[in-house]
Symmetry: C2
Subunit: 377 residues, 2 copies
């Protein structure tokens, strides 16, 4: 039987009946993967090779380059959560989770079933990012250990609730993994966000997604600055990953991004199932974007912004920005050039929610990381 | 001297020194108009013809078709207002008006100077559409004549203030004209919105813009349903026009749309100047889109939406939608087709602010109107 979508090689390699479910709804995807990509993967899988060989599709060369040390062993993941609506106006995650709360079939695999939940309930209800403060900056020790007060922002109490249900953060009782579903108004495509390259299992998950979800490039964005405490919702669980899909306006649900997020989640859950059932994931090398700083808008002395993101920078997330390239266009005319001394890679360019954070774009460097192999205990 | 942008023929025809200012900043536009369009207009203007001939550029054929009745006479416009931030998260108008409040040079013409103002101040401050209720649905007799109460929404009091300053609505003291600057998340391009085809001066203004602003098609959208009371902010003035530019996410300022709105405003102010200084605008025929109804999202019994705008309808504003064309994609798969019995033209497709109004898109019919000539008293 000739598989008709890109997801079939995954099902084929894994041979688990639960993957048939995954494959059937993926037929609704609007853009099938390039035929060549599938054929190549199928060839690898049909080659009579072991499960390890099958799963290293796309990573064979980097495996050799990364050396053949024994894979690191981690416990299987049994308790997995999926958060939507951490920002209540990022609609792909809000409506995916609402759909899964009605019908969770897609979140089930043989060894586990992911638990969907809406994280910022009041913000979802009002279709705003937050009602009191940004929930996704509230999972620090300071807030999570604070005593309840009458006038605290709604999100502080909600963060404690989430920490009780899916954590406590840093404890043995915490959920094994948490997905967090986001949208951005920036042109970031299907971006995978995690804290740092040191998180082994999410790095393997990202690599698996990049190899098997071939409709877009799925860049990896490492968000934690050195010495910074993890503040995001998925830090409550033992480990996690955020999906950041764009461009999509706040409060708008676009069918194409909804389908992409659904497919990425299916792929990520497939990875967990393979990990849980004993698949060995070899070492590999990968490129990822690591945050190095943030750039504010130019401003008048009274604090009001005095310039816009330059049309030549708009929508150029993850592309190189070189010294002397234009970055801003003042209302009064002219243009403002990038004054750095080396090439950077910007992201979150002109993100709606970052005006109040005084961030016109985030600066990143592109780096290559060697990731050790992985296997369950 | 060879003019270098599309706006120069306007300046050339009108020969007013104030147009030089307009033309100079238009040099910052990113996409010059097609050279052919300008050459054709210049030919008309340089032909030794009268001012009437020069200004009928692009409308000569329709003028003949519409007949040669004497133009209707209206009073010149001396008091003109420009509102930004009627919806506080529609950023092109917010930042254009903020810029003009710092430097109003661009709003000056020989016979008048337009007055910029931010209409929903609190919503602009919070970067939300409104804080209590939609300001742009609050300019009805019911709200404008209501007595102040302690618990009334902010926008009701603000509507009364605006009515006092720029109205009162329907009175001889009201401002002569009000522009209102909007953005939409829908793919509506540079859309010109007015109440009905019966408003003679705005119809001529739209025709002038369509003829002289040749970078996009500038469709005319007639928003008032039969028998409906005017509820929008520009109804406070004797007459008015809204500019609706998209797609732009709420809370995001895109340089290209900012430049387009600026250019449209310059063109519209040029029209008023020409009208005030005695230009005769001949009769013409024009196409416009007239609202016929609104379509809600499919919903579950509990009221939650159960489907998204179909990818084949997304971004197809102002294009024909035929019976049996797909319009929605349920979360559960399949598709929902348009069941009407004739072709319609949708607009505001998947507009963020209309989810709460239960509007997935607006239905329009495309009609041709014969507009009488116009001249100042």
């Amino acid at each position: 039987m000739a598989p008709s979508t890109w997801s079939q090689p995954t099902s084929h390699c894994a041979q688990g009946p639960q993957h048939v479910i995954t494959a059937s709804w993926l037929l609704t995807l609007t853009t099938p993967a390039p035929k060549e990509a599938w054929q190549w993967q199928q060839q690898q899988c049909d080659d009579g090779g072991s499960r390890i060989q099958a799963l290293s599709c796309g990573g064979l060369r980097s495996r050799a380059a990364a050396g053949m040390a024994a894979p690191r062993r981690l416990k299987p993941l049994h308790r997995v959560a999926v958060s939507g609506g951490t920002h209540g106006n990022e609609m792909s995650g809000v409506y995916l989770v609402k759909h899964w709360l009605r019908d969770p079939t897609e979140l089930r695999r043989g060894s586990f079933a992911a638990t969907p939940f809406l994280s910022n309930l009041r913000a979802v209800e009002k279709c705003v990012r937050y009602v009191g403060r940004d929930l996704n900056r509230t999972f620090t020790a300071e807030f999570l250990s604070s005593a309840e007060t009458e006038d605290e922002p709604y999100e502080v109490g909600r963060a404690r609730e989430i920490n009780q249900t899916y954590g406590p953060k840093g404890s043995a009782q915490a959920f094994d993994f948490m997905f967090d579903l986001h949208n951005t108004t920036a042109n970031m495509g299907t971006c995978l966000i995690m804290d740092s390259e040191e998180s082994l299992l999410p790095m393997h998950m990202c690599h698996y997604i990049q190899t098997h979800y071939t409709q877009s490039s799925c860049p990896i964005y490492l968000y934690k600055l050195p010495g910074e405490e993890s503040y995001s919702i998925d830090s409550v669980a033992k480990t996690g990953l955020a999906l950041e899909l764009g461009p999509q306006p706040q409060g708008v649900l676009k069918a194409n991004l909804f389908a992409e997020m659904r497919a990425l989640m299916a792929c990520a859950l497939d990875f967990i199932e393979l990990f849980n059932t004993g698949t060995v994931f070899p070492a590999f090398k990968t490129e990822a974007y690591k945050i190095t700083g943030r750039v504010d808008y130019p401003r008048y002395p009274d604090g009001e912004i005095s310039a816009m993101v330059h049309p030549k920078l708009q929508d150029k997330d993850f592309l190189p920005l070189n010294p002397e390239d234009p970055i801003f266009q003042p209302f009064s005319g002219e243009e403002i050039l990038y004054e750095g001394d080396s090439t950077i890679y910007p992201a979150f360019i002109n993100e709606a929610a970052y005006y109040e954070k005084k961030v016109a774009f985030v600066k990143m460097e592109k780096r290559t990381f060697s990731i050790p192999g992985l296997q369950r205990e």
